[in-house]
Amino acid sequence: MSPHDDRLNAQRSTLTNALAERLAAGDAPLAELRDLQERIKLLDGVIAEQATRDQRRITVLLWPLALVGFVLLVAASVPVPRVPLSLTLKASAVQLDLAEATLLGPLAVNADIRVEGFSTLESADPILVDAAAREQADSVSVQAAEMRLRALRLPAGASLGVEARRDAVTLLVESARAPVIAELEMRGTATLRVGDGALHLARDYPRSEWMRLVAGDAAKPAQAPPLVSLTLARRHGENVPLQISALKPTRLRFLERREGAVGEGSALASSLLGGTLTLPATGQTLALAAGDGLALDGLRPERFEIVAGTPLLIELSGSASGLRQRVGEFERSLKPSWLEYVSRHHLTQLLWGSAAVLWGALAWVRRQIGVFKS
């Protein structure tokens, strides 16, 4: 409250007291009393107007502070749209969403292969083709001296699951579009089991032989093929991991189905066994513990590699639009806010910018005070 206001209030108090005394005396002329009352009314009007002006002045002075506060709040609350990351982890299973049509292979596979879920078997070996047609086979198991997964062709939008068990690695393909195609090559003495029959075919391929397994109908791409699984069973005493690279997943999940107690059925659980997540945007390095949940969305990988041994070793660097960690029931986004990002990467600009904004705000306040004083 200004000295001017104090004087007005004191004046009003004096007039009020005078009016009360004159009224109490009982002999004051009516004109004098009316005069005192009129003066008090005038003072009330001026004091009320002054109070309104003070209120308005406080509001105007708070504007720049409120604006700075709002900008800071937004910058601290809104996450950056994409976060660069580097991830190294171990897991027993991973699910990849592949937005684009993908070709996996060729991969030398030191394992026996079982493929399930196909509808057509093609090969240059007529005995295999005849056996598949006779058995109406949707599965085949191959043991051969040399095996190669020549290609696994996935249509756009397919989901690829990679699961590591002690004795095998399984690739699971789920796709809404057809066809899903697996091409195998084998060489040497081979034993094949086509379909679920007991018939085992013993073949000898001194050169190489190919087999093309097609799930779904290429002429009807909108018709979803059945789930296709490729199980690569390690041979006794051999543990050469399968190296899967050059994939471009857009989404990663680390989940596996675990059997519960008798009668409880199965439940999805985290397949993470541990790892390290580095976020260069904030300089954070997070240790991921076994059982933690991790979900990555909107991925743009620059490098992505799975070494499919036991367990899976996964290395990823790139950026993601969604990154969430779950520990128990607590889930949080690991994307930094704009304020964190700017304070980490543009500290000098942030300090200069803040100084400029504060200088502007103070200048505004001083100017407003000057206006009110005048």
């Binding site: 070996d125 190669r148 050169r207 190919w210 791409p221 690279s245």
Partner: protein, 132 residues
């Protein structure tokens, strides 16, 4: 560039060209094939292929398009097919007299480890396979 794909040279096998989309929509790997070159024998196609690693032998076989390989010929091992990496070799393929096309498989065995390279598979469209 190869390192970025995660492939080794031995996984590459043969040098091929992704030339055109096949009817099924998937890319077809085509070897550089010379058909009926000047001065050559008529009814014969010559495929010139390169191997990505040193090989001890190269062999090929052919079968009719669309038969699913039911009538595949025996493998023919090329003479003098011990090759250095990226060395080229010509495969002379007799074409069917009825003008229909052929599917050809080319196989090579690595000189270092004795393991087979990935098969090179390509198709030669015959005059009677091509729609007018």
């Amino acid at each position: 560039m190869l390192a970025a794909t995660g492939l080794r040279l031995v996984d590459l096998g043969f040098l091929g060209i992704v030339h055109a989309a096949a009817a099924s929509g998937e890319p077809a790997l085509l070897a550089p094939v010379v058909l009926g070159a000047a001065g050559s024998e008529r009814g014969v196609a010559t495929a010139v292929v390169r191997v990505s690693v040193a090989v001890s032998s190269v062999a090929w076989r052919s079968y009719r398009l669309g038969t699913g390989g039911g009538l595949a010929s025996d493998w023919v091992t090329l003479p003098a097919s011990q090759l250095f990496a990226w060395q080229r070799v010509a495969v002379t393929i007799p074409l069917p007299v009825d003008g229909r096309g052929l599917q050809v498989d080319v196989q090579a065995v690595g000189a270092d480890d004795g393991q087979a390279l990935p098969l090179l598979r390509f198709a030669i469209d015959g005059a009677r396979n091509v729609a007018p």
